[in-house]
């Protein structure tokens, strides 16, 4: 699947749930390409901006759309990696800020231990 195909496949469904792709389409296609790279690498689409453990069970919360999207879009108008945003964010009605990492770092640490 190409990033463009993934874009067309995901967009209607996600918009119906109130999540819009970032208006910067080139940026979105770049992100989607990296999601496809991670799908190839790990077997599932883990967030391209987070370190995956490679263990699906340990990475479940960061498989896109991640468990933190709802809270991040509600608070910042954007998910952590900027793929999904609110309509207000896309229309510049709210500031565009760097979204801080909401995930507990212990989850990442757990992935390291698993490698042993």
């Amino acid at each position: 699947m190409t990033p463009e195909e993934l874009y067309d496949k995901l967009r209607p469904f996600q918009e119906s749930k109130g999540y819009f792709f970032n208006r910067d389409k080139a940026f979105v296609l770049d992100l989607l390409e990296n999601l496809l790279i991670n799908k190839e690498r790990y077997g599932y689409m883990v967030c391209p901006c987070r370190l995956a453990s490679g263990q699906r069970e340990l990475d479940r919360d960061i498989i896109c759309p991640c468990s933190y999207r709802e809270a991040d879009v509600a608070e910042f108008g954007s998910c952590y990696c900027g793929l999904y945003v609110s309509q207000d964010w896309n229309e510049d009605k709210i500031p565009h800020t760097v979204v801080p990492e909401r995930r507990d770092p212990e989850k990442l640490m757990a992935g390291l231990l698993f490698e042993e």
């Binding site: 990296n34 790279i37 391209p48 901006c49 987070r50 760097v98 801080p100 990442l108 490698e115």
Partner: protein, 84 residues
């Protein structure tokens, strides 16, 4: 620009890490770039331990400019740190 000790901890798939890298290149800064997702086993653990000391959230990009840590693609803050 005085010689600074610069290390970028990033992920090969992270666009913001790519943006920080491009900004450093544009500014002509010399730096070490460590793609943590390409490390394994003890090497990955050691790097994660190093990152945890400066960015307990273990998020990426994490940029270290001498003693200053900058988390995320914060263009102005990065430029200021390079010029300091």
């Amino acid at each position: 620009m005085a010689d600074k000790n610069i290390t970028l901890y990033g992920l090969t798939t992270c666009i913001y890490c790519k943006k920080v890298k491009e900004l450093l290149d544009d500014c002509g800064a010399g730096y070490d770039c460590i793609f943590v997702d390409q490390l394994e086993g003890d090497e990955r653990k050691q790097i994660i331990d190093a990152i945890k000391k400066i960015n307990p959230k273990l998020s990426f990009p994490t940029l270290l400019v001498d003693e200053e840590t900058i988390v995320g693609f914060k263009e102005e803050q990065i430029k200021e740190a390079l010029e300091r």
